[in-house]
Point group: C2
Chain length 335, copies 2
Amino acid sequence: MVLFVIGLGLADEQDVTLRGLKAMQGSERVYLEAYTSIFMADGAVERLQTQIGKEVRLAHREVVELEADDILELAGTADVSFCVVGDPLSATTHTDLILRARNRSPPIPVKVIHNASIMTALASSGLAAYNFGQTISVPFWSESWRPDSWLERIGENSKVGLHTLCLGDIKVREQSEEDMARGIQRYQAPRYMLIPQLISQITAADTEHQTAYIPADKTLAVALCRMGADDEVILSGTLAELLALASPADEAAAQQEEDEDEALADENGWGEKEVAKHKAQRAEERAIKAYGKPLHSLVLVGKRLHPLERDYAGMYKVPGSRWDEVTKEVYGCES
Amino acid sequence: MVLFVIGLGLADEQDVTLRGLKAMQGSERVYLEAYTSIFMADGAVERLQTQIGKEVRLAHREVVELEADDILELAGTADVSFCVVGDPLSATTHTDLILRARNRSPPIPVKVIHNASIMTALASSGLAAYNFGQTISVPFWSESWRPDSWLERIGENSKVGLHTLCLGDIKVREQSEEDMARGIQRYQAPRYMLIPQLISQITAADTEHQTAYIPADKTLAVALCRMGADDEVILSGTLAELLALASPADEAAAQQEEDEDEALADENGWGEKEVAKHKAQRAEERAIKAYGKPLHSLVLVGKRLHPLERDYAGMYKVPGSRWDEVTKEVYGCES
């Protein structure tokens, strides 16, 4: 029989293709991979179940990794659908399942049904899909782990003048380091990297390595948020402007916040950890107010910017942006 | 009202999304852009019409360019769908229509409904979507016009070690130079660039410019043909091997063909032009026998090949391919 590997598209159950829908309807079992990508609309999984008239099993990382043989065993005797929000091959995560299916004896036929992913929707930025270089993924940093191998890739794209799509990290069903150490099986709330953190980590790495690939006031970027959803948000400007959009209005306001935090900490007897949590929560609220709920991605604009791209992406510039000035003076994009 | 710009996906009317289908069903008028991309399955337009219960107007280049104002005028008072096979923004061709809609007074809301395109399906090659550089389009060469600015882009990707997606040219409703000169309004049969011509033009440019980006026996590539269709064909190997697949078996066979062509020319009183036409036709038949009908695209494999990519793309290697040897010796891909 067939293992269908189906892309569900960008936002919700309305983005599935007729071909994908038919494959799911004819399948003995339907899995929805639930750790590299998510439906952005609430209730989409339930509506998808109604749509196909059968149960959709959420497949977390451990299911896909530990039960792969069971999935393939079943696919040997009946059609099975393995669904992924976005396009199923845009991340490399599912290559292993496909290779294993094909290497079985007898091999299980695999049929990939492609769909739009953020790597398609990037063209909604107004920048030409042809002019993008390699895509990078930016993982959450912790105090002890700050991976930044993606910085070199930004540099490579940047030297050629290509745009870079930067994908924010997604952490679903992660355990805290403390719980893991204690052997407690408990999951933290899902975390999604938002625009301000994406910008902060990218510029921090650039500063640390003194690479100067992306000076914050001379690098243009386009924020792509909730692409394909009804409430999608596209905003362009310099990295500094996009960051400012989710920051206190000025130094005085920032100072006032600091003072309030201190007062709150005193009042409630908070330690460092509680204060940090409070600050993180406020930063998240502010990011969501400016850019909407996750998923967020960021495009760094390459120097080979074409006037048509400048005009199109410029339609999304934040109020008061130096977009026109920077495209001309830094990017040399005239006419 | 809304101008819906809708991607129809890879192969036929089954690849439309539910969201796209609904938009078309609710539109006063539905256009299908018919010159940058095509449905690969016969009868797909008719089935799409049945599916949405209304006429689909084929929009050739002149319609989109000359009647853009009419399309937008209508979109000011009613929903209009402008459909494109693949993703509507993967080519930059339709940027102009969208910009004009947004710049009208009052602006016409534009809603883009993304879908899979060849830029999504490239991951079916087994190569990771993350590791692709800029995409190039290879136009048909004529005797007097041999554009090759894309060669430099192959070089840029190649230096970094990235893969390059090479799209073959599509010529629909083109006029011959002779007819144009004589002012005759007559269209030639559609032409689609097939794998052998893609490889020939790319290697010819590389040789002419002495750039040596892609030596034919040391460069690996993956042919992606009719992606998303039921008869899709994926084949990998060196450029020389992929070319050989649609060439005479050996020198003796090639010589025999030459002799037969000469005899045919004598017999039928053919001039140079007729002989060239006969050869071109045979080359096309041979290409289709090896790779299937259009559309064809080619991926040039970058030096940063990962072992997992090597194994996955290697599943598609042509019989007798030096894939394993070249990945090891030229690409340095071991483990």
